[in-house]
Subunit: 447 residues, 2 copies
Amino acid sequence: MNERVLQHIDENLQNSIADLKRICALPSVAAKGEYMEETAEMVASMLESIGFETRVHPTSGVSVVTGELNVGATRTLLFYDHFDVQPAEPFDLWDSPPFESDIRDGRIFARGVADNKGDFISRIWAVKAFLENGLELPVNVKFVVEGEEEISSPNLPEFVKTNKDFLKADGGIWEFGGSDINGVQEAWLGLKGIVYVQLEIERLNTDSHSANACILPSAPYRLIWALNSLKDNEENILIEGFYDDVKPLIDIEKKAIAKIDMYEDKIKNHYGIDEFLLGLEGHELKERYYNGPTCNICGVWSGYQGVGSKTVLPAKAFAKLDFRLVEKMRPDDIINKLRRHLDSHGFTDIKIAWHEGYPAAKTPVDHPFVELVNKANKAVFGHDLVLQPTSPGSGPLYLFNEYVPMVSIGCGDYDSRAHAPNESIMIENYHNTIKRIAVLMHEMGSW
Amino acid sequence: MNERVLQHIDENLQNSIADLKRICALPSVAAKGEYMEETAEMVASMLESIGFETRVHPTSGVSVVTGELNVGATRTLLFYDHFDVQPAEPFDLWDSPPFESDIRDGRIFARGVADNKGDFISRIWAVKAFLENGLELPVNVKFVVEGEEEISSPNLPEFVKTNKDFLKADGGIWEFGGSDINGVQEAWLGLKGIVYVQLEIERLNTDSHSANACILPSAPYRLIWALNSLKDNEENILIEGFYDDVKPLIDIEKKAIAKIDMYEDKIKNHYGIDEFLLGLEGHELKERYYNGPTCNICGVWSGYQGVGSKTVLPAKAFAKLDFRLVEKMRPDDIINKLRRHLDSHGFTDIKIAWHEGYPAAKTPVDHPFVELVNKANKAVFGHDLVLQPTSPGSGPLYLFNEYVPMVSIGCGDYDSRAHAPNESIMIENYHNTIKRIAVLMHEMGSW
């Protein structure tokens, strides 16, 4: 490993942070469709400025930006990132404005800094550390940077369909990752799938006085009954056939999770709970964490939410649900089963107003590329990666891992609060993350 | 009946409308606590100017105004009115400014004109029709005019507690009423009781990423299960003992409702529904309308309600419920039973954050005072009143009817849109309403 590369990373830390602040200043909230094209342009221009051949691929939604720097090396490394972020609401819970990066206590605070603009910028600066030293890149590098990851990547399949060749590489780094509660770096080898639905019911033309609840149907109550029918209070999902395709964990996965400390007490402390769902702990808790599908209410609303009492029978009611899927479960199949369930339970009046989703995917725990990533990590951080067979969260990994083994590592940490107010990263982690990618490129060159 | 009284009402219609416009110009919205004292003063001064002995009774909230004109008659007539109104929002749905009365198509449009400032003014002008003719009043007259009816009369019990004697009278006229869809005058003899509660649950210190729904408890799902446990989808309220004290309709009530046309098709058209709750119609629908307690969701909310998908496990969830109570059900008892139900079903984590309410009350259908009111109505309108044993709505009638039989009649009609934009009354109805009260006073004098 050429020391000049690592030295460049040290010397240019502030420059890379300046880039990070610049991209975090764009409130590219996918859920609102804001600043999408502006941020795509910034991504493309950052890549172009260091010699990448970039393309902005139009889709039915937000454009996908790709960059390729083919130096004729034997191996190719692919990065998957996204330039969109979660909504920053509620704004009043932020200690500094979410789209004006603030540095304090050795951390950078901004919406998207952990998820995943910090990773994207760190990867660019790893490449720059070679190029700005006049060194040849040890590997060919490709970037796929989309703008709809936070809304379930609805148009990424469209991009992949016509760009399969672009995804072919010897190894890939997925968008997120970081250190656990004890500062130990983790690698996520898989992602659960997801189905997100909005349920809507309208039973009256207009809200009515609640005195009429004795004779008129209630949209919110019908929604309550429907949601209740989906899952009982022992957490059994009651949609007929929901669990049919669930693939159990295999032996190497069970061995991998046996090594993982879930820091149960710390998580319980963090959330202020006495016990986990159903009182689970130890191996059973892990089985559920790594291989449990969910049926979760992300939002539900109907009627009056103001101060005091308003006596109203609301005409409409709404719910947003997500279902996390494990390996082999199919989103379309789950939507069909949900519709059939609602119909067969008498809830034909409840509409699935819209839905989106994708299946789970995993890179095998024993894949050689995983070992290579671990070697690079150990060189920088001094310890082995905790290998997480899958994240409980979701991402469109399934679109990639047919063509390239992907490993998710990144610049976050236990306190990063992705998706929540006061999202942040540790500058030290961010700094070492750039080095880890540089070392990985070096190692991959002679792989 | 002295014809000069009725003639005075005819000749002074415009004067009484001028008074009505004057009081409707004060936006006395109880929910906002605005113009309360100004309106109380106007009420008191209107009563004083015709010889009433008035008092403004301070309460923990808005003052209650009383007026008494004791002419030493045998009988005493009591009026219950309120000077507060519902919020006028949304303003843009009004065809004329809500607090500037507008006359068009034989109607007066203003917030509060139907509910219930028109009634209050009509009752004053009925009294004036005697006094300004130099005639002695046939009855003693009392007014109780409060300013918090639209927010559930929270401080009226406090007033009543120290003014029980004031409520004693031979008959009373409650605040609202009018003609039905076919122009037939109705009298409401009772009001349901109500319990209003806000339920709250917090299961986590902070919202979490919905990926964690596999291992962390869900506040909204627990609220859903709790609400589901309160009522099944056959509309059976499952709170143990909820129906214990329900008093069935008695024979004369059943006879009364048998005569009533509910105009089922017109109501169904209005709400755009094919059938009423549980497919009820005819007598069963009426039984439920007049004697069915309810468990209704006025509002429910948790988590994300914005556009698109946010993958969150919400820390908290909320619901506002109202229970309409029929005769003999006790609000405190219902609250206790609700708490016990939640506890015994494992929902000790769901708090009843606050609650309020009062019981139902009725004046017997066969009470002689009801007959007297009907006689006065027939003299003016030429037809018998439709006797509604109770309204499905609520009001603090229970505070009064221990001391005085109350009947609710008024100047509204089917198109009055109380609580909604473009509230209005028909001038013709208003005019005749003044006469009906004058005739009632006359009849009561020789009762």
